[in-house]
C-alpha cells in the first residue's frame, strides 16, 4: 500500500492534471466544498416557499422537495447528464453536471433542515421581535435565522459528510473525481486492486470521520444548551 502511495500519490491527488482537467481527491474536495457553499443559499431559498402561508405555494414546494428526496441521486445525475442538454441545448462536462445535481439535491435536504430549525425556535422570539417593531424580513434576518442556524449546525455538518460521499457517484458519468481516479488505478494494477480500494476507503474515512466527530460534539453541546434554556430557574 505504501508503495502504491509512493508511486501514484500525485495522480491520486490531482488526477491527470495539467494534461487533463483537474481530478482525483482535489476534485472530490472542490465538488464537496463548492457543493455545500452553493447548496446553502439554494436550501435557504427553497425553505421560503416551504414556510409560505399561501397554501398552493407551500404545497408545490413540498411536492418539489418530496420529488427530489424520493428519487435516487444516481437517477438525478443521469437526468441532468442526459436530459439537460436535450432540454436547454447546452451540455456540461461531467464535473459540472455533478456539481449542479449535488447542489439541487442537497439544497432540498438543507431546506428541510432549515424549516425544522426555524420551527424549533420558540414562537415568543418572533412575537417579541414583531412587537418591538421589527418587520417580517428583519425579524427573520436578525432574530430567527441567527438562532435557528446555530441549532441547525449539527445537521449541516452531517450533510457535508454526506455530500463528500455523494461525490463518488461522479464515477457513474465519468467525472474523474477520487472514485474514478482510484478505479482507473486499480485497473492498471491488477494484482493490487484490493490495496487500491483500501486506500480509497481510507481517503474517504479521513475526510468524513472528523466531520462525524465534529457533528456529534456540536449535537451534544446543542442539546446541553437547549436543556439549560428550557429548564426553569430554580
Amino acid at each position: 500500500m505504501i508503495e502504491i502511495l509512493q508511486n501514484y500519490w500525485l495522480q491520486l491527488l490531482i488526477g491527470g492534471f495539467p494534461h487533463t482537467p483537474l481530478g482525483g481527491l482535489a476534485l472530490t474536495l472542490i465538488l464537496a466544498v463548492s457543493g455545500l457553499v452553493l447548496a446553502m443559499p439554494v436550501g435557504l431559498l427553497m425553505a421560503v416557499p416551504l414556510r409560505s402561508r399561501f397554501r398552493p405555494v407551500k404545497a408545490l414546494a413540498e411536492l418539489v422537495v418530496f420529488y427530489i428526496r424520493s428519487v435516487p441521486l444516481l437517477l438525478h445525475v443521469l437526468w441532468v447528464y442526459f436530459l439537460m442538454p436535450a432540454i436547454i441545448g447546452v451540455s456540461f462536462p461531467p464535473a459540472i453536471t455533478m456539481l449542479i445535481t449535488l447542489v439541487l439535491f442537497n439544497g432540498a435536504y438543507i431546506s428541510k433542515i432549515v424549516v425544522a430549525g426555524i420551527d424549533a425556535l420558540p414562537r415568543g422570539q418572533t412575537e417579541a421581535a414583531l412587537s418591538l417593531g421589527f418587520g417580517r424580513v428583519q425579524t427573520m434576518r436578525h432574530i430567527v435565522l441567527p438562532q435557528a442556524l446555530r441549532n441547525m449546525l449539527p445537521s449541516l455538518v452531517s450533510q457535508l459528510s454526506l455530500l463528500i460521499k455523494e461525490t463518488a457517484l461522479g464515477a457513474a458519468i465519468g467525472a474523474t473525481e477520487a472514485m474514478q481516479t482510484f478505479l482507473d488505478l486499480a485497473d492498471n494494477l491488477p494484482g493490487q486492486a484490493i490495496q487500491v480500494y483500501a486506500l480509497l476507503a481510507l481517503a474517504y474515512f479521513a475526510l468524513c470521520y472528523p466531520l462525524l466527530l465534529v457533528g456529534r460534539r456540536l449535537e451534544r453541546r446543542g442539546s446541553r444548551a437547549a436543556k439549560i434554556a428550557t429548564e426553569p430557574a430554580s
Binding site: 443521469l78 455523494e166 463518488a168 457517484l169 486499480a186 480500494y197
Partner: protein, 241 residues
Amino acid sequence: MTLIEFLSGRYGELLLKGLIVTLQLSGVTLAASFVIGVALTLIRLSPLWIVQQAVGLLVDAIRSVPLLVHVIFWYFGAPELLPDGLRMWLYARDVNFICAAIAISIYAGAFISEDLRSGLRSIPRGQSEASLSLGFSGFETFRYIILPQAFRISVPPLLGQAMTLTKNTSIALMIGVPELVYQARRIQDITYEPLMPYASATLVYVVICAILTLASRAYSRTALAHRTELERTPNTREQSA
C-alpha cells in the same frame, strides 16, 4: 409515443424486470441490514469499554465510506480473498446480486444501528430505575420496559432508512445488477432516447417513497399520538449514497 404506449411494449417488460430486481434487492437487504443493525446495537451494549469503542469505531468507519466504495470492494475485492472453493461456489451464482446485497446490508446496518442506539438512549433513566426498584431483573427491564419503548421510537427513522435503502439499491447498477435504473439505461442505449425510460423509473421511485412516507406518517399519528413525552423522535441519519 406516450408513456402508456412505451410501457405496454417490450420496454415496459424490461422495466418491470428491473423493478422486480430492485424490490428483491431492497427486501433482502432490508431484512439483512436490520439483523446487522440489531446485532451491532446489542454488542455495543456490552459493559466492556473496549468492545463499545471498537464497535463504535467500526460503525463510524462504515458510515464514513461511500456506498459505491463498499459495493466495488465487495464485488471486485472481497472474492479475491476467498478460498478457491467458496469463490467458485459464489461465481456459479448471481455474484453481482449477492455482492451488492452484502455491501448495501452492511452499509445500511451501520446506519440502522445508530438509529436504534439513539432510540435506546432517548429512554429516560427513570424508566430503568423504576423498573429495577419494582424488582425486575436487569434483563427483564431491558426486555419488557426499555426495548418496547425504544422500538416504538425507532420505527419512523427505520421507515426512513427503508426509503433510503430502496433508493440506494440503484448503486448496484455500477456492478451490473439489472435493477430498475440499469434497465432504464439499457433502454436508453437501445433507443437513444432517455426521456421515457428515466421518467418511468423516476415515477416508480416516487410511488415507492410516497407509500413509505404515508406509512411513516400514519404510524406517527396512531402509535405515538398518546405518548407526548416520547414523541420527539431521535435524530435520524440518512445513509445517502
